[in-house]
């Protein structure tokens, strides 16, 4: 009997901890968004930090990531166009390519990339700051950690996801045009017709919402997980691990939800 009650207590505690961290994540997301859109938050220091953060999370990786995305897009486009031609479905190749790449693969790959590069770094930084009591120290000296430490990171990550998604998607569209119609401009009306079929209002909205959600998740979850780290140094790697796993599931959940929204 005590074993069972013990077990139940532990399960309950774990459940509460999980729900607490989700609540903290959502709360933080709300606070950050509110802070990011209120002009009063931006002073000279915040601007400097935000700009540096954008530079390090978005500008620095722009060229290599764009090259990689171009390669990935090129290969996938070739596969889809080739397969479609084999089955006599060339008419649908372009639509398939656009739906596959621009709507699904590229936003997800971008989010995963930024998660791996910046998300894990943010999680580690915040966890270490928390373990070393630096967050409390900052708060004690009257610094608003939300607007000086967390919001810049979230903005940088979000902008990174949005801009990389936009740039790689447009690049993929250009590549798709070239792969399907070749190096000539006369098929633009055809191309536009297919684009018009694919991108209706709902799809456009869902891409934007999805990219925004990806950007928010990629940074808010690591920050929240870092803030929830117990103050023991050996918990830092565990915190990063948990943050990354949670981030992965959230990204997948957003992806599945957007698919369900579009096709069901």
């Amino acid at each position: 009997m005590p074993a069972i009650s013990n077990f139940l207590t532990r399960r309950g505690a774990a459940l509460l901890a999980t729900s607490r961290i989700w609540r903290a994540t959502l709360g933080l997301a709300g606070e950050v968004v509110v802070a990011a859109v209120s002009p009063a938050v931006y002073n000279s220091a915040t601007r400097t930090v935000v700009m540096k953060q954008i530079y390090f999370t978005a500008v620095q990786i722009l060229v290599p990531f764009t090259l990689f995305a171009a390669l990935l897009s090129f290969v996938l486009i070739q596969i889809v166009v080739g397969t479609a031609a084999n089955y006599g479905l060339s008419d649908y190749a372009l639509e398939m390519v656009v739906r596959l790449l621009v709507l699904e693969v590229l936003p997800l790959v971008t989010a995963l990339f930024v998660a791996l590069r910046s998300g894990s770094a943010i999680n580690t930084e915040v966890a270490l700051m928390r373990i070393h009591n630096e967050i409390e120290a900052l708060e004690d000296s009257g610094v608003d950690t939300l607007r000086l430490e967390f919001m810049p990171r979230v903005i940088g990550g979000m902008l990174s996801v949005l801009s990389l998604t936009a740039i790689t998607s447009v690049l993929a569209l250009v590549l798709a045009y070239l792969a399907v119609y070749g190096w000539q401009p006369w098929s633009l009306p055809d191309f536009s017709r297919v684009m018009g079929q694919v991108f209706d209002g709902a799809i456009l909205t869902s891409i934007w919402l999805k990219s925004l959600a990806f950007g928010l998740a990629v940074t808010v979850i690591p920050v929240a997980e870092g803030l929830a780290t117990p103050k023991m140094l050996f918990m830092a790697p565990i915190s990063v691990l948990r943050g990354m796993v949670r981030l992965f599931f959230v990204l997948m959940f957003i992806e599945v939800a957007s698919l369900a929204f579009k096709y069901i």
Binding site: M51, L159, I167, S192, M195, G196, F199
Partner: protein
């Protein structure tokens, strides 16, 4: 006060910060992102025809299964507009509103006919047919009936036909089907014909049997020559001993018996040669058929042509054989084996 004195001190702060052109780079990134996003939305709107001045065309139909909003209407295979709206009217008919961009509206005339075609694979298609492009232009908001040409209606009939054809093909290709057996026979016969004894083997069924026939013929030939010799001798003997041996119980009686035996033997030989002849006649007709078949096939394949040459060769051999027999055997008919 304090700060004023500080900023007055001579060395200026470095104007080369950690990252060159930080502001510019970030500005560029932001501008690029916003520009791409806005341009893309603009392009999507353009692609959806938001900036196009379009004419409205209304089509009415009994049944619009397969028609969806956004579906193109094509003219000569080119999309010239798309379905904007579908709704059911009070009388149970369906009203299809199409948006036709103004520059494409010139393809539609008063006499234009609109059809809905449902293909077996892929969705339905709305097509516009205009025979007289000199006709008056179709006005904006015109209402026209949509004629449904349903390809799927013909499918059951088509499938029945296909089924019977398939059944025939099935019968033909099934194991034990007549054509299969025929082909199998042809194969064995031609296979044998390709052997050492050619057509004869083909008719007789195996090289051994053909060998036997040839040997039998050879033996018959030798027998005939020796019989000739024997009968000459017998004649001579008879001539010499004509008077002397013509008595009862004399040599003559025995000789007569032996001659009778020789005659019987000759009869047997004749019978057997007749049989051989019959066989050869059969072979003739058979080879005619075979060559007819192979002749047809030869038109299609070069291999068959080679086979045919072999058969011709075999037939020639048989002809030769028959000629040989003819030379030696006077009662042979005028036998001729030809390939068509």
């Amino acid at each position: 006060m304090e700060r004023a004195s500080l900023s007055a001190s001579p060395p200026p702060p470095p104007r080369a910060p950690l990252i060159k052109n930080l502001e510019f780079k970030i500005g560029l990134l932001l501008a690029l992102t916003v520009l791409l996003g806005a341009a893309f939305i603009g392009y999507a709107l353009y692609a959806r025809g938001a900036f196009q001045v379009s004419h409205t065309l209304v089509l009415t139909a009994e049944d619009v299964e397969g028609v969806s909003v956004g579906m193109p209407i094509s003219f000569s295979g080119f999309p010239i507009g798309k379905v904007r709206r579908l709704h059911l009217m009070d009388d149970g008919k369906v009203r299809i509103e199409l948006a036709i961009p103004r520059e494409d509206a010139r393809w539609l005339r008063q006499s234009s006919v609109f059809t809905l075609e449902k293909a077996i694979v892929g969705g339905a298609r709305i097509k516009a047919h205009t025979t007289n492009l000199q006709d008056a232009a179709l006005e904006d908001g015109a209402v026209r009936p949509l004629i449904t040409g349903d390809a799927t209606k013909d499918i059951p009939v088509l499938i029945e036909k296909v089924k019977s054809i398939l059944a025939n093909v099935d019968n033909m290709t099934a194991a034990g089907a007549p054509i299969n057996q025929t082909l199998g026979h042809v194969e064995t016969v031609t296979g044998r014909m390709a052997g050492d004894y050619g057509l004869l083997q083909g008719v007789m069924g195996s090289p051994e049997k053909a060998d036997k026939v040839v040997k039998a013929l050879d033996r018959a030939n030798t027998l005939l020559t020796s019989l000739n010799g024997v009968s000459l001798k017998v004649d001579g003997v008879l001539g010499k001993a004509d008077t002397r041996l013509f008595g009862q119980d004399g040599v003559m009686d025995q000789a007569q018996q032996s001659v009778a035996k020789v005659n019987a033997l000759l009869g047997d030989v004749r019978e057997s040669l007749k049989k051989a002849d019959a066989i050869l006649a059969n072979a003739q007709t058979a080879s005619k058929d075979v060559t007819k078949i192979t002749g047809n096939v030869a038109e299609a394949t070069t291999d068959m042509a080679r086979l045919r040459l072999e058969i011709d060769d075999s037939v020639r051999k048989v002809n030769h054989l028959i000629n040989e027999i003819n030379k030696k055997w006077p009662f042979a008919r005028d036998v001729e084996i030809k390939t068509p």
